[in-house]
Symmetry: C2
Subunit: 197 residues, 2 copies
DNA sequence: TTTTATTGATTGATGCGTCAATAAAAAATA
DNA sequence: TATTTTTTATTGACGCATCAATCAATAAAA
């Protein structure tokens, strides 16, 4: 059976299995055997490629993060105006790929785990910082600096909050209404600023 | 040593110990021994009073929830106007007692745990519902029904989001600025509505 | 023959939940 | 009031299950 060049395929399969396992269990205490089983390999192989369980979890987190960043930069590339840049960032966060039960459960679980693990916390800080600066890349051209910072904070908080409510499967059932909520806030703040000018 | 009437004292001490243990560890996987140790008793006693670990966690969650509800009703009682009612609900959520690292870590951990445990999920649904209707108790008198619902959703999401960001100890360092963010949103929406009228 | 892929079996640790044992208070009985 | 009995409080020790991590063994490529 052993065919060479399996490593990248197995790594990817194990990471995918980790996300779906976390999504189904709803928490990070999934076993290595559970994950490995989903990926169709033995738990020993998972250890072979990733070392400790925490390393696999960190790799999964990094994967989630880099997917989000990739999608975001792609969306930003085609955004023509500052206003469109802000909407692009928002829509990526609520895209089908991101705003899915398994993905959200994984994010939530990682937030909790980050309390313990400094490595994970660093990764989440990076995420928060990127989200902020991506939002600012549009807002800074629409509002005075201080207001832009303020609106970026509030928008980021709203996005995180909507993720949580989605995890609870209560209120805000779909991505469209979540986007509408955030966009409405933005529109309100922008028109308020325009009036003041 | 055995003195009669220990039960309520022990129960309370164990629940407090659970919160602080979760706060320090940052997650729900604290051991019964750890909790019992903090409460100054053996793990066997914790089992004696609460049964399974999950029961202790559920009791802790219920305690957190009922404290929040008690504080909220107290704050609502002294609120004179509809506008004051909304502010009252917000300020309770960011009060010293609620917006504390240990409490927030516990809430976050419970959100994750709720994915697995239907009992906990029910409790969190109750919390979300109460928060919503408490906000509505003021908003319904300030805005048309549909707008009020919308603003209540957004406010609730913002509150949850700010909790998460607090848990990460990143951005929004203190309660005051968190309140300012939410109040600013509210004020903006209310004045927008007033102008439209 | 060396490297890469893979696993079953095993080990060691951890932690929940139980149980029998101890002791002090309260209640019942003499 | 003195005693026995029952109830309440409490724990150390232990069984049992789970799981992460290791390792020796197998087999196909290079």
């Amino acid at each position: 059976m052993p065919k060479v060049g399996m490593e990248p395929l197995r790594r990817r399969a194990l990471i995918d299995a980790t996300i779906s396992a976390i999504g189904e269990r709803g928490s990070l205490d999934v076993t290595m055997s559970e994950i490995a089983g989903r990926a169709g390999v033995s738990s020993a192989l998972a250890h072979h490629y990733f070392g400790a369980k925490e390393d696999l979890l960190a790799a999964t987190m990094r994967h989630l993060l880099s997917e989000l960043l990739t999608d975001t930069t792609a969306a930003l590339r085609v955004a023509e105006t500052p206003r469109a840049r802000v909407s692009a960032v928002i829509s990526v966060n609520f895209s089908d790929k991101q705003f899915r039960a398994a993905t959200i459960a994984a994010w939530l679980a990682f937030y909790v785990e980050a309390q313990k693990s400094p490595g994970l916390r660093r990764l989440l800080r990076i995420y928060a910082h990127r989200l902020h600066s991506n939002l600012m890349s549009g807002l800074a051209r629409l509002l005075p600096r201080a207001d832009a910072e303020h609106v970026a904070e509030a928008t980021a908080a709203m996005i995180d909050g909507l993720y949580i409510r989605r995890a609870l499967r209560d209120g805000i059932p779909n991505a469209a209404s979540a986007i509408a909520l955030v966009e409405d806030y933005l529109e309100t703040k922008l028109s308020q600023a325009a009036r003041a000018r």
